[in-house]
């Protein structure tokens, strides 16, 4: 079976390839009658343009790369949803890459993407990332990048985040208002922008209420679930005065539930918990978890839109800008006043 490409269409219609190409692009240089003939045959033969030939020639791929730590975190699932929505509206395609929070993998992915496979990148940096040379190398390669959620302050570009500092502050204050005096912070990572901001909010809220910071009460994620729970168990046993937990990432809140159960600490009577989470079903938890819920879908969509808007210009330079979409504290029973 002969392939159906422009050449084939041109032959069957006794036209040149150029005219066929132009007809399909609805160019004004082609008569209405010819356009109609071309379109009819293209439809009949189910012509589909070769994306690679087109990309090669136009030097643009109509594709954006999404580089994220993991897709099992519900935040990123929702964000992908928003990204796909925006991309589809602009006829763009979405390539997904997972770093698994591994710096080396992130470097390899970014390096590869410089080959022109994508026109732009949406990035949420890996927690293992400290050196950012690979990200900086994108600018000279003319590949714009928009950070979402986990940003990289050293790079001048567009960021879309949520109000992490305020959320950390608010969560902490919420626990204080509920009567907590010794609040632990289960921290996503102090290497990440979001981790630092949430931690700072936590610290400032304590200070505002006259409580001294206590490094002993801050537990960063080890990326190993069993290990996390062990550290937390050890902490709760060593510090029976802990009466509040602020988990700055979903899975740590879940771990906190498990450990509290195991140790017989009642929630919220003995320990009150607030956690970042985008899981709808937290309302079914026992007890329902008070959450900081991020506008994940909107964050993804907004980041994609900014990127896509920039890509429509010939020289996609992204001005430094920060879009902040607010998270929401949803109060449930896990932090109710005893």
């Amino acid at each position: 079976m002969k392939p159906v490409n422009l050449k084939r269409l041109a032959e069957e219609l006794n036209l040149s390839i150029a005219t066929v190409s132009r007809a399909l692009q609805d160019s004004h240089e082609v008569s209405a009658a010819t356009k109609e003939r071309v379109r009819a045959l293209a439809a009949a033969l189910h012509y589909e343009p070769n994306a690679y030939a087109s990309s090669l020639r136009r030097n643009q791929s109509k594709t954006i790369g999404v580089v994220i730590p993991k897709v099992t975190n519900h935040f990123f699932s929702l964000a992908i949803n928003g990204i796909e929505e925006a991309a589809r509206q602009s006829n763009y395609h979405v390539l997904i890459y997972l770093t698994h929070d591994d710096h080396a993998r992130e470097v390899a992915i970014i390096q590869h993407l410089k080959g022109g496979r994508v026109d732009g990148i949406l990035l949420s940096v890996a927690s293992g990332t400290e050196d950012i040379a690979h990200i900086q190398s994108l600018a000279p390669a003319n590949i714009p990048v928009v950070f979402f959620d986990r940003v990289c302050a050293e790079i001048a570009t567009a960021n879309v985040t949520t109000n992490d500092y305020e959320s950390g502050y608010q969560a902490t204050e919420h626990l204080l208002a509920a009567g907590c005096h010794h609040i632990a912070h289960l921290l996503i990572s102090n290497n990440l922008s979001i981790g630092r901001n949430r931690q700072q909010g936590y610290l400032d809220a304590l200070q505002a209420h006259g409580l001294p910071p206590d490094a002993d009460l801050v537990l960063p994620d080890t990326t190993n679930r069993a290990h996390n729970e062990e550290l937390l168990r050890e902490l709760l046993q060593r510090r029976p005065d802990i009466d509040g937990i602020f988990a700055s990432v979903e899975h740590l809140a879940v771990s906190a539930y498990h450990v509290c159960r195991e140790l017989g600490r009642r929630i919220p009577e003995d320990v009150k918990i607030v956690g970042f989470s985008n899981l709808e079903s937290v309302s079914l938890f026992d007890p329902p978890l008070t959450t900081i819920t991020q506008p994940a879908h909107d964050i993804g969509r907004e980041a994609a839109r900014i990127l896509l808007r920039a890509l429509e210009k010939k020289r996609p330079i992204l001005p430094s800008q920060s879009v902040v979409l607010n998270s929401e504290l949803v109060q449930r029973r896990s932090s109710e006043q005893g």
Copy 2:
């Protein structure tokens, strides 16, 4: 700044483009010394081959397309994880497309993918899909497709699924053993393979225990959450004899919890619930939800591997085959015997 491509490398090294290309592919037709020179300069200039030129010439994109209903369903998140893992190991890329269970969107996506953007497709069909002409058109276009989870029996290709029939049977039998006599089935869709299989398992289990089928007790998903809950509420009120619920998709189990709470039906005392779910945190539910847990990650990885293996041959024909990975019933309190 001059672009760094094969031409540039060739010029700087006083070699032909052909030799540079061959050197980078470690061809035996190039001397070791030349290879070394080429590699050194390529590394120094951070040469990255243009993926589109390469794809165009070789007529293969090193990319697979993943077409799924939604990414917010945890099953698909986990599956993507497995797919990405397999793809990365084979140096393949992953394009994501969401159908949102909309047939028209699925058709458009598939049609577009015939343009050569992907070498193969992993597909989990939309619940709205009845006509499968668009899928059938992939074979003549030489694009292999592997179904996972939601298969299309009419198409002769590889399928990767879980043992849906047995799971439906097992879940129902589990509820019967726990003392239920009137078991409702909240069905994902009777248009989907998985829906039909789970429903058949449910029916057969009832029959095996001498219970007549009751169409009144089967509620298919309406894809509208509020509407689902309304129908369920109405059902539970109309049929106070219902003492067991089998939800063949996660979000319907969650809805069942909400409605039961609202109506004051105690779980598991009044109504016992079993649901398909891949959410880890169901163990924190009140009460913890008994689940059928699918090996989602493995299903994705296996489907991807089968596809990738086929793509390595020059003429990727996938023999009809069905790989079945077993789901697991994890018993928790929501189905405990009163």
